[in-house]
Symmetry: D2
Subunit: 353 residues, 4 copies
């Protein structure tokens, strides 16, 4: 079975594993205070053009999101998010478990607009009974979004300007940031994010590492005592150098971007395959996530050979499905998919409803 | 610098890393639902002689403790622990952050006695104002304890019998369980713990893995929905097979025990070295943790070459210090220490106060 | 200024205050263990035809909701509520502060249907990634709802049947229950609720008391140790008899219903006044809350003499507003409103848009 | 049965109830925004000589403590308290339920010394592994303490100076503050506390009101958004004027002090009675709490007529018991106790062990 179900199905980039091999018997201080973690912070901050960023490595994304958000918010505050935001949908209530409401905004493409945030915050402060409601304290966005879409530079600048005006920190969940940063259609490089946000995560798990998310505070005041919070949340890895070594491997060179670039090219090929076969997409994406709309019988036919995720059931026996690529997507996987699509039985051809 | 500061300073047993190498490009389902994790559960449950145990793998010990404890307790309940218990001292308030008080009991050796637990619980229920206090809901012990001491079979049986009578689950934190299970002076094997507890963690991080703790519910009713809790707490690893592969390597053979046995022999050698040099110990231990009492000037002298932990400052310029061994402790490290102790300057010899 | 802004603007029914006077110097045990509280429990349980109900008195509604909900839910569970539910809108995130997500359902009239609950729960269990989402653990409804509408017997029976099938407790927030129970158009009496719910609050604050909500567990298993939770949440009143005395005054006779009946008649008069003046209503209600749709200039005109709540701004310079009655609404207040509506300047008459 | 068990056994000072009567039909804004609450704030701030204090009224002490402490602390911080502190013993884990550890200090008389606080905080910051422990974030003391003892001006000044140096807010729980402020042996008046603390509660429940605690922030920065927290915690009373009216009655005159003074005189009489009967005291107190050490058979004899609290069992069949007085303690109660002590059977006389 070939799986396109996600970008965390294989191990890691071979360079990463080699690094773990090379250093295995070395003794280092625990809990992120080793020299590899220190070097990784320097390397990453160079890519971010943010020498003063306060950088911490955590194992996973839900942990990183929950730790950052509950570290920043006061108890009576909530976090603004798109209704499709990962924290609002797929983190098992981690934010609420930390005591905070998620103030959701409906969107069509997973992106929060500056005006929608402004409107929500204005409504709060205009409410006579505002003390009976949750005060907005932070804005959360994902880049790329959960729908595979990308914020442009203009969009993030507008959003950040609004956040600053409203005195709300802006937090970018970059679990898949590599696929935004390496995207030739994006006008934002890694070095730009410090100008449009206060905190960002640079994701490793979905971008070639065994595991690991780097939390980067551009606004260092927000980072104060964050290591206590990491420990309290169970997010401080004993052998912290495992995170340092992995991130160092990604960022001492351009590996983070080059690995993502390959995955993007393979996603382009996926888009081409589905397009040529006559299918449309639920979201227009350029990232490593592809969302074709497929008739359910085609889905069943493809599932004999391939694994992929059902995103949403549609009327008329169709579904939005998600295909993901990563550093480990093989060319032959794509070719087998191409073949399967081409050779699908005649009765699956009249699929446009 | 040679470090005896802890047992999580190096990478992992070479067999573990080899296993990650071998499987690196394989695609597996995420979040612990892969076949390696399934096999690891079977292998571990065989060692525990508990085919029905409900086993879950988490990355770290604080996470495991917090998840288990807050999963079992109701909001108005607290957990009983020795005052020296890891949860009470070194987990940054993780249990309280989950909403629960730790009901501590003073001990001399880190071990909870059945009678002390009985007394605390009796006092609660005898209190007219008990609803104004925290209800005991769970008992937490560590094996080996944070002082390096071991519960005997009799002690754990008595404790467990008391817990059952009091309708309190008993949870054993086995972050270093290997060093108890492989200890020839212990009368408890891995297969015994299911008879003396309801939940146990089988620690990997300090016993040869890169990371990983296995939470084993012998009482399956306590495990209900635990995967939700793991996810909510940020403790469900995306590439869950990394945990499965590591635990499988430990438990498909006797590696868990043989690796620990080596470390114990090296700890015996440490005990011998300090003894021969004329020093006594703060706790009589047989485990991989050794607690000599050293004059502070000897400490300073040794620290030029070796790293180790200060456990407690004592009067008269002495300290309890901790030396740990692990799978990666090299014979030459021990020989260098032997040499350093032997060749210490004359003025450090009159050390008995 | 005459206020129709809510039903908690005055003190309390004179009988209640008289009772406090009469007993003022008496000494009683604290924390709800006095004989008045005991008698009040018996009196109330008689009205509820539920001699076995486990009844507890708390000071306020937000406290009662938060305590009940977090007492029943396990940490990974959430509570299902209409999007307009008080807990979802006007309790400042109290439920989330207790660690739980509110799983909201959109409605047009504030009422949850059995089918909507079934659909939400089905979707959860059908979700392959359900452990990454919040598990439904409880259903919350308000009677009357926040829109002033009422569930019929059939509706609550259907909802409760669904809840039982799904193994979800059903909790009714009866902050204004008197106005449902005394409503001649309702086919549910106080004695019926035990057949259609597991827990209900019988509200006092908005129904004639100085303060007080009675939490009544029909399913006693859910009530276990609730007094600990009350204390922990700061909801156990030291002079608990104040709650007992107040509820005893309401329920040793029919005062709860007769006082509400008067308020309902006054609300009928309000509906008549607005209707005669040519206005329509946002929700068709029979309860003590009236929601006329008024042009904003009429609102401004009325506000010179009367206070009332703006519920929702509408297009074309109109608003939904809320007028409430209570035991303390005076006939002359209604007459002044009648006069104000009749004598409104000519230019305010062409108001139908 | 005559009860000396506590100071919250009766209703309230008659003036308070009269005030509720007089205003019962008046309509006021809810949630503490009425003019009585405003006037009460002014009146109280005058007594405190703190015109800028930010004052909020809550119903009960546990609620007030929990709201203040969790409002001030960040998630990774804990609160320092004497081991006997009310929050550490008798609030059912409310502080931990809010996520915070209580960092307790042993004392002999319930009072925290400046040096003990300094030592605890120094130890935290000197700890190499401090991020694995809970950071001290606030200091909590009670005045009078739970042992009935009083801080002197010097003691509180020293403690506050230390707190300021350590950048820790100092919070005084004044649940029984009246009995400190009215105590002729105390060198602290109400107007002094603003110089020795950042936040204080001025207790009503145990000092003559039906209920009510006033939280007074002398450092207004700590008060920011406190009303949100009150609402979220279920601590914002709908008919907030009930709190305003009660505190206004206490503080528009000297009623708070004069009522307490009477209670103190009655406590003096209690002390005299026990002394004359040959008994000693567990704590030397001048406040309204008296802690005689009584043989258990005398306790049993007295309990036929009187209720009082057992504080602590002692060896040799003796106990520390607590007798409380309040505004409602009647002279004849004291006389009956005097009689009972005098006329106790001969066999109870040889009580000194």
């Amino acid at each position: 079975m070939i799986s396109f179900a996600s970008d965390y199905l294989s191990g890691c980039l071979p360079q990463v594993l080699a690094r773990l091999e090379d250093t295995n018997r070395e003794q280092t201080t625990g809990y992120g205070e080793d020299h590899y973690s220190a070097e990784a912070r320097v390397a990453l901050s160079r890519h971010l053009a943010a020498p003063d960023a306060d950088i911490h490595f955590l194992v996973g994304g839900t942990m990183a999101n929950a730790a950052v958000i509950s570290h920043i918010l006061r108890p009576h505050q909530g976090v603004i998010s798109a209704e499709t935001g990962h924290i609002a949908v797929h983190e098992a209530g981690a934010i609420e478990a930390g005591g905070h409401k998620i103030l959701t905004i409906e969107t069509t493409d997973g992106k929060l607009s500056a005006s929608a945030v402004q409107a929500l915050v204005d409504a709060h402060w205009a409410d006579f009974a505002r003390e009976h409601t949750v005060q907005p304290g932070l804005v959360y966005v994902s880049q790329p979004t959960e729908c595979g879409t990308l914020y442009s530079k203009d969009e993030l600048e507008a959003l950040y300007k609004t956040c600053q005006k409203l005195d709300l920190p802006l937090y970018i969940d970059g679990a898949r940031l590599a696929y935004a940063a390496a995207d030739p259609t994006s006008d934002l490089t890694l070095a730009d994010y410090r100008h449009v946000s206060d905190v960002i995560t640079v994701g490793g798990t979905k971008c070639g590492l065994l595991f690991g998310e780097a939390v980067c505070f551009f606004d260092k005041r927000l980072a104060r005592d964050f290591r206590y919070k990491m420990k309290q949340d169970g997010g401080m890895l004993a052998k912290g150098r495992l995170l340092g070594l992995q991130f160092l491997t990604l960022f001492e060179s351009d590996l983070y971007l080059t690995a993502a670039k390959e995955a993007l090219e393979k996603a382009d090929r996926l888009r081409q395959l589905f397009s040529e076969a006559g299918f449309t997409f639920a979201f227009e994406t350029t990232s490593n996530q592809v969302f074709p709309i497929l008739p359910d019988d085609i889905c069943a036919y493809l599932r004999r050979q391939f694994d992929f995720e059902t995103w949403q059931a549609l009327p008329n026996d169709r579904s939005v499905v998600r295909f993901c690529t990563s550093w480990s997507t093989a060319d032959e996987h794509l070719e087998q998919l191409a073949k399967a699509l081409k050779s699908r039985p005649e009765r699956y051809h009249a699929t446009h409803l």
